[in-house]
Amino acid sequence: MLDSKIPAGPLENKWNDYKGHVKLVNPANKRKLEVIVIGTGLAGASAAASLGELGYRVKAFCFQDSPRRAHSIAAQGGINAAKNYQNDGDSVFRLFYDTIKGGDYRSREANTHRLAEVSANIIDQCVAQGVPFAREYSGLLNNRSFGGVQVKRTFYAAGQTGQQLLIGAYQALERQVALGNVTMYARHEMLDVVVIDGKARGVICRNLVTGELERHFGHAVLLCSGGYGNVFYLSTNAMGSNVTAAWKAHKKGAFFANPCFTQIHPTCIPVTGDHQSKLTLMSESLRNDGRIWVPKKQNDTRKANDIPEEERDYYLERRYPAYGNLVPRDVASRAAKERCDAGYGVGTTKQAVYLDFRYNLINKYGRAEASKHGIENPDEATLVRLGKEVVKEEYGNLFDMYEKITGENPYEVPMRIYPAVHYTMGGLWVDYELMTSITGLYALGEANFSDHGANRLGASALMQGLADGYFVIPYTIGNYLANEISVKPIPTTHEAFEVAENAVKDRISSLMQIKGKQSVESFHKRLGKIMWEKCGMSRNEKGLNEAIEEIRALKKEFWSNVRIPGEINEMNPELDKANRVADFIELGELICIDALERTESCGGHFREESQTEEGEALRHDDQFLYVAAWEYNGEHNWKLNKEELEFELAKPTQRNYK
């Protein structure tokens, strides 16, 4: 049933061999082939631009007012690449191995290896596009290190790497728009996939300005619609980030893989109250220079700076001496939760730990600068002043952002941080060619499941989005489209378009006709609360069963009591939101079902029933060495398909960051 189409041969040759033998489409025929791209983040913009360059006729869609606003833009810390510019022993193999290990051995080896192989090309491509990466005084590229690895392989542009990479891809995309190869549809939301004779042949979109439904034909459809973290309501995702495109595809037959693999990021600004609409990430790169601690005493109410050094518990350094503050995200998040649950949390809500820069500000940067300036025996004030200048250059925008949100100056007092939902490793099931289980429908970037297993390492999401868009899909899509060159564009008057559009229309009008009492937002908040409490950082059987019941009840209530003001045929943000929340509710149920079924702990999925004596995640490779690909069979009804994972080079072992 599930054919992952992994090429034969040794792992390190698979991609090269594939590229050497893949079918090609000649340039004249590319002109006749239309490709639809949903989403214009790193994956979507890079795919649309690259396919446009090749000569395909591309239509790209985004719900924002411009492709430059996709949420990839908010990625802060950096992008990994196996360049080994630092001469610290990095290689394609190490990047591959770190990613597999970081993902707790639940990703597909062949895909991950390919990702590591093309990583170096991404940096070259971005530099050529004018992405202003950080540089040394020599004029050469600079690197920083990230969690879960022991080399410096992360390229960055201050704390705005995602922005710079996305602007690069956006500019490449706009260039293709100018050349007429790509047609851009902003403020459009995809509301269904049109499948004809088993192949994806188009989409139904809603123009969010006029409210009109539109039909668009494509020989192939690419979903680059990002992750589904907003199912938790509070997350670091953008307000508009949603699962709708992927979910519609899922309901039309695309399998949804490993939905329970959600990443809780350890360093976010803590929640302050019920009014909160979203959470803000503080880049993982801060753990390079920030040390995480809590007071050694429970319920300590002293101010951070009043707690003497010997009464501070640097719990990550204590528990994981080899990786210290740079353990992977899942490990760091759970450790923070453990401390807070045990009563050592700080701040008014006690749901926070300190991230403290003072030590490195003085000892790492201050001393280096003092020595550079020839200052002997500098006093602490001088070191702080000198160190601040360097820290400002490295993370200035993050520190400013922290101060704006909290009103506290992180140069003076430690940041307060707490884990928050950030990324979703799960997503649409795809084969080696990134094709979902619907022929001709592809999923790229965070929308697919393949590369990060159960936990993504920092600075790898940007890498994957761009790898898929720039370097993978341009090859793999040809293998499919080569057989489609004789297919004439199907007129959108075709019955399948008619049926799909009517279904969308019916759903929208039934939503509008409910005219209940509760706002869409209130349902989303309630869904988020269920998900966070029962399917959040740690999960157990009882909680998950309850969650499934509660979500089912919530769904009933939503469809009988939601209130959407305004009209259908106008700009109506409440209706847009209702369409998305309705899908999140259905997805929430599937996430809990998946989490319930996987009775092991791995990566971001921590089942309380499965842990080591020391409280670390305990995998069960004998039972769960597979991808759970869920097939939709009607309401509340999913069938589990398993893709067994085989590890040729990276033999699964219990992860150890001690």
Binding site: H71, A128, L141, Q164, M184
Partner: protein, 254 residues
């Protein structure tokens, strides 16, 4: 930070769609926490409006981290509100006090028509980028990232210019509705890098031509744009653009 709550009066621009005339509407909001963001205050108001079966206020927003550039409110006569170097979404309510009246308007410029309430159409910016705001390199053509060293100060200046989020506050603040800060940030970003050098001349000429076509005004160098830019983009970029434009125009060989 001391926490407090406040009651506020909001005067907000309401406009059904691009073709209909708009007007100001007054709303009262109660028990707003000083820890809320400005947009969370709008969420609270909208929730209340939905509850009362009234039309909520439409406004653009997405990342709420000050980076996507989608939010665009002109608050008490200043784009993005009273805080320096801050987007609307990062503005927090501790900037206001109990009893304040806050006037919220959309960006005003003929090149940015209002679509609904506080939402404007900024496609003109995309079209300016299409006119030349890129480096013409196809995927797969790149040399090694370290093959061409870039002076650190150039890379840093290019980055400072590239930090532009395309929100349009510069246009909203400018008495001429000029887009020069936006255009110059892109021109400077790309021309400061060796990779952007070959297309330097055509880029600046074409982008300015498109800017003029879109109906933005010209630059009087009042520097209001720099004062309100949430990313603190410098007007030095405009001066740089001017110089590049003149030398490009002067160097044309036909």
């Amino acid at each position: 930070m001391d926490h407090y709550t406040m009651n506020l009066t909001l005067k907000v621009w309401k406009q059904k769609n691009q073709s209909e005339r708009g007007h100001f509407e007054t709303y009262q909001v109660k028990d707003i926490s000083s820890e809320m963001s400005f947009l969370e205050m709008f969420d609270v108001l909208n929730e209340a409006l939905v509850e009362e079966n009234r039309e909520p206020i439409a406004f653009d927003h997405d990342c709420r981290e000050g980076i996507c550039g989608m939010c665009s409110m002109y608050i008490n006569g200043r784009p993005h509100g009273p805080w320096h170097g801050t987007t609307t979404c990062q503005l927090h309510m501790r900037a206001f006090k109990d009893g304040d009246t806050i006037v919220v308007e959309p960006w005003r410029a003929n090149a940015f028509p209002v679509i609904k309430d506080l939402i404007v159409d900024r496609h003109a910016f995309d079209r300016i980028i299409q006119a030349g705001g890129y480096i013409s390199v196809n995927t797969g053509n790149a040399v090694d990232g370290n093959a061409i060293p870039v002076k650190k100060e150039n890379a840093d200046s290019a980055f400072a210019a590239a930090a532009c989020i395309g929100c349009g506050a510069c246009v909203a603040a400018c008495k001429n509705s000029s887009a020069m800060l936006f255009v110059s940030a892109k021109v400077a970003h790309l021309s400061l890098l060796p990779q952007g050098e070959p297309e330097k001349r055509n880029r600046v000429l074409n982008m300015i031509e498109q800017m003029d076509k879109e109906g933005f005004g010209s630059c009087t160098m009042t520097e209001a744009c720099e004062a309100v830019c949430p990313k603190e983009i410098s007007v030095d970029n405009i001066a740089r653009l001017n110089g590049e434009y003149l030398s490009a125009a002067g160097a044309i060989d036909k």
